[in-house]
Assembly symmetry: C2
Homo-oligomer: 136 residues x 2
């Protein structure tokens, strides 16, 4: 069992090293059999080497900022603002920790869509400062 | 400051009462000025009455199951499996608590998409048991 504070330190380091493309340091945070799931595409990546390569090869001059980090025992949830050129996206990530290392990563990438009709009497339009979509 | 364990109890009750459509009990968990944000559409709903109505009026015979709950001080993150007829969706929710009540809800609804080319050498296809998309 990893404590909440150990998981918090690990998760902060996970995002900091990813953001800095400090791949050697990033790799040290992962279990050898780390699993990465993208449920929206059904893709899974298994193993530290492949997951590292996936990140290293990810195209575009992206920048990421962690906008929420919620940590609970050996689990963490985060939201990220992800910027590539003119495009702004929100990434949502769940991490699971085993023996002080990241063992499972599940990513979600929601996209903007038009508000469905029929609820205009309840809603207003608001630009979120924290969760921004642009360039879709 | 709300403790993690108070927030956990509140979040569990939030999803249980929503799931049961126990709207009277659900309403008692919300601040009067509760704010609901849907960053993907830019919609915002402000106030307990409107947010309650939004939920009550939400169309379809939906069923929800909480698949993750991560709680940290006065914040919580959750994933839900949301089923309406043949359609299965994943909802991601961040809650913020004030004075023991839910003050802010931020929802994301990712959708399935085709895996981009160029990373087949790293990925396999895996059906997630936990995060299911169907009927899109």
């Amino acid at each position: 069992m990893t404590t909440t504070e150990q998981t918090r330190t690990l998760a902060e380091r996970y995002f900091a090293t990813m953001s800095a493309r400090a791949w050697h340091d990033f790799a040290e945070l992962l279990t050898d059999d780390v699993r990465y799931d993208l449920p929206q595409t059904g893709e899974r990546i298994v193993g530290k080497d492949k997951y590292l390569r996936f990140n290293q090869e990810y195209p575009g001059d992206w920048q990421l900022t962690v906008t929420r980090l919620v940590v609970d025992g050996d689990s963490a949830a985060a939201s990220m603002q992800f910027v590539v050129g003119e495009q702004e996206m929100v990434g949502l990530v769940f991490l699971e920790v085993r023996d002080g290392l990241v063992a499972q990563v599940t990513d979600f990438w929601p996209e903007p869509y038009d508000a469905p009709p029929g609820r205009e009497h309840l809603t207003e339009q608001a630009i979120s400062e924290r969760d921004r979509f642009a360039g879709f």
